[in-house]
């Protein structure tokens, strides 16, 4: 049987959803038999490949770089899954949303800095005005809330999606 091409993406999040993904113990071995992980923080690929079957997105969309990436990922993915509260609701990254970006950067990198005071300019993407959920930018096929979603929820969702079933999250996954 042809293996499913699975990718994972880390936008504005804490990597907790990826930790939860790894936390499924022997479940990872079962998954490895059905899917190749073709892109993500856990593998080496530098460029998001073409024709990915399933992509799990962790994190909110917070910068122009995130916008560019998620649009490219959407175009190259069959089933896009928003994994965890940051991707689904923008969660903790959204706590900056009522503060103007300039004011925020000034507070953190100038007033709050012990040394090298000054706004970062080189090699860092421009922040958006607000951090927003993934579905504000591209079509999302499945939302999996949780901070993070438990490894069992992730395993259930991924197993269902790989098998072509529509996951029934029912009352298993909640915000927070």
């Amino acid at each position: 049987m042809k293996k499913v091409r699975l990718a994972t993406v880390w936008l504005d999040g804490c990597s907790g959803c990826h930790m939860s993904l790894l936390d499924m113990d022997a479940g990872v071995i079962a998954l490895a038999g059905q899917a190749d992980i073709v892109y993500g923080p856990l593998v080496d690929a530098q460029e998001f490949p073409e024709e990915v079957d399933v992509t799990l997105v962790e994190g909110a969309v917070s910068s122009q770089d995130d916008v560019n990436r998620i649009q490219k990922i959407r175009a190259r993915t069959r089933i896009l899954v928003a994994l965890g509260d940051c991707a689904v609701t923008s969660n903790v990254p959204s706590m900056r949303n009522s503060i103007p970006v300039n004011r925020l950067l000034q507070r953190v990198y100038v007033e709050g800095a012990q040394e090298n005071k000054g706004l970062p300019v080189d090699g860092v993407p421009q922040l958006l005005k607000q951090a927003c959920p993934v579905h504000d930018f591209v079509k999302v096929d499945l939302h999996v809330p949780g901070c993070p979603p438990s490894s069992q929820v992730i395993l259930g969702v991924v197993s269902d999606v790989l098998a072509g079933r529509k996951p029934d999250l029912g009352s298993k996954a909640r915000f927070g």
Binding site: S90, S98, G170, G176
Partner: protein, 237 residues
């Protein structure tokens, strides 16, 4: 004078109740579940959250079960795809109106709004979030008011007025500007009429009112004793 016994149908099942009861009371008395957020047994009902909406045969708009009195022969539907959709919308609109960041809330895991979203199958919100800038009032010696989590259910307003008799809480402004305030919009810590009883905190369904000294997930509330006290004192007229 004995109250008149009425017969109504709830989801097709014949239920006996008495005149003056609401649809919600009749349903609960016969073991039927209707979701609620702003309702708390023993306090007056206000129909603020719209979670308890039901369909009544012959009426083409949805009615809140907590404030609609039963009428003889009434036929009530409490579950349908249409009701499920409108209840999800009600929860989603509550979630976009304030900053309900569950992951860093004192009530995470013990929150009625969070549990309601989960039980209704709300996995995401289809409307744009408002991200309002809202204050947190830490001025009270023992308690905290976090406007970011408030859903304006007014359980605190009612428990304070109807059970404690202190009338500390009130809602000011209208619509999206509506806010919970203590005593003529002063800091809670300066509210001379507050008796520090904490009933508002226990009645609050979310993390809007909490006890100081609790970190994320640590604020567990009890409101069964509020209902018991209210019923015992005959608050429910």
């Amino acid at each position: 004078m004995p109250q008149r016994v009425l017969s109504i149908r709830i989801d097709g099942e014949l239920v006996s109740t008495t005149e003056g009861k609401t649809i919600l009371e009749a349903a609960r008395a016969s073991g039927k579940y209707i979701p609620t957020l702003c309702y708390l047994e023993g306090l007056s009902a206000v129909g603020a959250c719209r979670l308890c909406i039901v369909q009544v045969a012959g009426i083409d708009r949805l009615l809140p079960a907590c404030t609609t009195p039963v009428q003889n022969g009434m036929s009530v539907t409490t579950k349908s795809p249409k009701l499920a959709e409108y209840r999800r919308i009600a929860v989603e609109l509550l979630l976009v109106e304030r900053n309900h960041v569950c992951a860093v809330c004192v009530s995470n895991g013990h929150c009625e709004l969070q549990a309601m979203a989960c039980s209704l199958g709300v996995t995401h919100v289809r409307y744009p979030y408002d991200y309002p800038k809202l204050p947190v009032d830490m001025s009270h010696e023992r308690f905290v008011l976090d406007q970011n989590r408030c859903i304006l259910c007014t359980r605190c307003v009612r428990v304070c007025a109807e059970v404690e008799g202190a009338h500390v809480w009130e809602i000011i402004s209208r619509g999206i500007q509506a806010r919970l305030v203590s005593e003529l919009n002063q800091a809670w810590g300066d509210a001379a009429s507050c008796t520090n009883c904490g009933k508002c905190v226990q009645a609050c369904p979310t993390g809007a009112l909490s006890e100081k000294g609790h970190a994320v997930e640590e604020m567990v509330k009890r409101n069964d004793n509020i209902s018991a006290l209210a019923v015992w004192r005959g608050v429910e007229a």
